[in-house]
């Protein structure tokens, strides 16, 4: 029972990460009907950019080397106490999320926009190209090895300490942080899309791009926004992933990317709440399966779930039965 609860907790943590990444897939698919294959690379880039920002904001030596010595007083504040740490995280998320979001917008502008009226295979292949390019760019120009996700003194950014105990299960601060932040971001995005004007424009565009354009919605702006929000959330998941597992590598995006896509499909691709639900479900299923069946096959289990869902309920749990328009 204790073991089951532990696995459930791991699953929910993992699920939070999947949900964040899955939102990016679902946002883009809802509007463009494109599987943004390069999205997993946004998750990876997030891990790297986040590490850089974290180091610049917390490590005096690093900042001095980069010519950002004036950050000194801010670093002192960031390194002192829980409030400083919270602000350090928040700043990192905002800065790296924006940077990766901009990368996402650039890929959209150059790799997908010229293909908007092409047959559906063309943008998919283009997306695979972007993904391969980004992965190997990081390998060649940053590092082909694992980079440790640690402070200057080699300690983890979030110390692995138990925050509280529920039913005998120890909940670490990292897990609380991941679950709380991802839930907050998911809620925020949901409110943004359902309550604001630009959110309404996004929903309209995903229902019918042409009609939305005729009603005065700036389609290019909406699509660019989707390509900003998705990668930004993916980047935050990438930072969490780095902190949780303690390292980043150039190919770290591939498997979580596929799994998050699976999560989006489980929930019903194109459906935001579905992606969140799917993320948590997949995280839990994977953790339970790896805990009780076989850890070596944990990735296989996620792929099997994907295949089964696509075969038996391609519309997903929350998606309606998809009918193809002729």
């Amino acid at each position: 029972m204790h073991y089951l609860m532990e696995q459930l907790l791991n699953g929910v943590t993992l699920g939070g990460l999947y949900a964040l990444v899955a939102l990016g897939y679902t946002l883009v698919y809802g509007i463009l009907l494109l599987i943004n294959f390069a999205h997993s690379e946004m998750f990876m880039l997030g891990g790297y950019v986040g590490l850089l920002v974290l180091k610049l904001l917390s490590d005096p030596g690093m900042a001095a080397k980069a010519g950002l010595g004036f950050l000194g007083p801010a670093q002192e504040f960031f390194n002192s106490g829980p409030l400083g740490f919270a602000l350090l995280l928040a700043t990192t998320f905002v800065v790296s999320g924006s940077l990766v979001g901009v990368v996402g917008m650039i890929t959209e502008r150059f790799a997908y926009r010229p293909l908007r009226n092409a047959p559906r295979l063309a943008p998919l292949i283009s997306a695979i190209g972007v993904s391969i390019f980004l992965q190997n760019a990081v390998l060649l120009w940053i590092s082909s090895k694992q980079l440790p996700y640690t402070r200057a003194d080699g300690s983890l950014f979030v110390p692995a300490k138990t925050l509280f105990t529920v039913a005998g299960v120890e909940v670490t601060s990292m897990q609380v942080l991941i679950i709380a932040t991802s839930l907050a971001l998911l809620l925020g995005l949901d409110t943004f899309v359902s309550k604001t004007k630009i959110g309404k424009a996004m929903r309209a565009t995903s229902q019918d791009r042409e009609a939305a354009g005729l009603m005065g919605v700036d389609i290019n702006k909406v699509i660019a926004l989707a390509f900003f929000i998705g990668p930004a959330l993916g980047a935050i998941a990438g930072i969490f992933n780095g902190m949780y597992y303690g390292s980043v590598k150039f190919n770290m995006g591939f498997i979580p990317g596929i799994k998050s896509f699976t999560a989006a499909v489980i929930g019903g691709i194109g459906n935001l709440r579905g992606a969140m639900l799917g993320g948590f479900l997949l995280g839990i299923v994977e953790s339970l399966a790896s805990g009780f069946l076989s850890n070596a096959y944990r990735d296989v289990i996620a792929f099997i779930v994907l295949i089964l869902v696509l075969i038996f309920r391609p519309g997903g749990l929350l998606g309606g039965s998809a009918t193809e328009k002729v």
């Binding site: 695979i128 972007v130 591939f254 792929f303 696509l310 391609p314």
Partner: protein, 398 residues
């Protein structure tokens, strides 16, 4: 000119071929035979034959995937799984029977390898072929990973995990003739000593397989099945309405493509005399897709030239650098694979925007990929008008 002969028809040459083109083809044929012999004879260049063999296997793979992606229009991102199934089936069964089969092992193993590939193709195809383009791509990707992870985890105790096959105490028997040719055909040439090395043997085996595949695929493209694929990829609903059984045709494309992947896999296993899951990663699948897409979807010369350029050129640079002919810093050599992926990633993006039909496009596929082309639509309208016009004329006659 005279009617095409039976051989010409079998090779798909139904049109008259001009004398100039004939000379070109003849020159190409001579080149294909002579160049590896020259490489083998020249001291220090023998390794190039080896590279040609590997490139040849990639041509086989590209031709196989071309059936699935180019003809049937189904994006398969897990194609390497069929290659892996062929390689492992050929190796596992071969190792249990090589004391009986001896030098015939490789040749006999082509059969179970091909069957293993085809069965996997059908097994995967049956449930997933209802899916549309991009969903199918993801599912095939997942399937490819499932196969690789299972091989890596020594599934059923058969595959020896990450260490690969054959197991430590086993040897792979070279096929009939390799030893005889090596021991008996050797003589001095002005360039160096010529030995009929096993690489040359494999070169001609792979060449034979490529020629066979090209002939078969060419005939397939012209058959009822090929026409059904073209109809299906252009408009599935219209094709179904015209009586094309979509699932059966897709299944055929999948299994034929998988079958040739299996054959390539067995050949790879026996050429290398060693296989491990590392040779069957997602990146290898992407590589084959790159070759087919950049070469030209649905185009046989495209797949061949694609493999030569995309696989051959970087391998050549790497080979020359390792052999010391080309001076490159050590770090660059070890990163050639990454550099080529970097370039191919970029090329895929640019190609899709500029020339989605590839380097050597199939004419029909090029038209499908440029639906907005004004001139093309005029052409089509004109041809429709021509048909109607001719019909009207023929109706008036009686």
């Amino acid at each position: 000119m005279a009617r095409p002969t039976v051989t010409e028809r079998a090779m798909g040459i139904t049109k008259d071929v001009s004398a100039g083109k004939k000379a070109l083809y003849a020159a190409l044929a001579v080149l294909i035979v002579v160049v590896p012999l020259l490489f083998q004879a020249t001291t220090g260049l023998g390794f190039l034959v080896r590279i040609l063999v590997i490139v040849g296997i990639w041509i086989l793979l590209a031709l196989g995937l071309n059936i699935v992606v180019g003809y049937a229009g189904l994006l398969d991102l897990g194609y390497i799984a069929f290659y892996a199934m062929g390689a492992y089936a050929g190796m596992l069964i071969g190792q249990s029977f090589n004391h009986v089969l001896g030098g015939a092992t490789y040749w006999v193993m082509l059969v179970p390898g091909a069957i293993a590939g085809a069965i996997t193709g059908v097994a995967l195809g049956f449930p997933v072929l209802r899916l549309k383009g991009d969903y199918l791509a993801i599912v095939t990707l997942g399937f490819g990973e499932i196969v690789r992870i299972s091989l890596n985890n020594n599934i059923f105790g058969l595959t020896n995990g990450a260490t690969g096959l054959p197991r430590g105490n086993e040897v792979v028997v070279p096929p009939i003739g390799v030893e005889w040719l090596r021991d008996n055909i050797r003589f001095e040439t002005p360039l160096g000593q010529f030995v009929f090395h096993s690489n040359l043997y494999w070169y001609f085996v792979v060449l034979g397989l490529i020629i066979l595949s090209v002939i078969l695929i060419n005939r397939l493209d012209d058959s009822r099945l090929g026409r059904a694929w073209a109809a299906m990829r252009e408009n599935e609903i219209a094709a179904a309405a015209c009586g094309v059984n979509i699932r059966t045709q897709k299944l055929w494309a999948f299994s034929i493509g998988a079958l040739s992947g299996g054959v390539a896999g067995v050949t790879f296993a026996y050429v290398q005399q060693f296989i491990s899951p590392e040779s069957f990663t997602f990146m290898e699948s992407v590589f084959v897709v790159c070759i087919v897409v950049l070469g030209g979807m649905g185009s046989i010369p495209g797949a061949i030239v694609g493999a030569l350029v995309i696989r051959g050129v970087p391998d050549l640079i790497q080979g020359l650098a390792v052999a010391g002919v080309l001076k490159l810093p050590g770090e660059t050599i070890s990163h050639i694979t990454s550099y080529r992926f970097l370039v191919f990633g970029l090329l895929m993006v640019i190609m899709m925007a500029v020339k989605p039909e590839g380097m050597i496009p199939s004419r029909r596929r090029a038209r499908e990929l440029h639906p907005d082309d004004e001139a093309m639509r005029d052409d089509e309208d004109q041809s429709l008008w021509d048909v109607e016009h001719n019909q009207r004329l023929s109706n008036q006659k009686p």
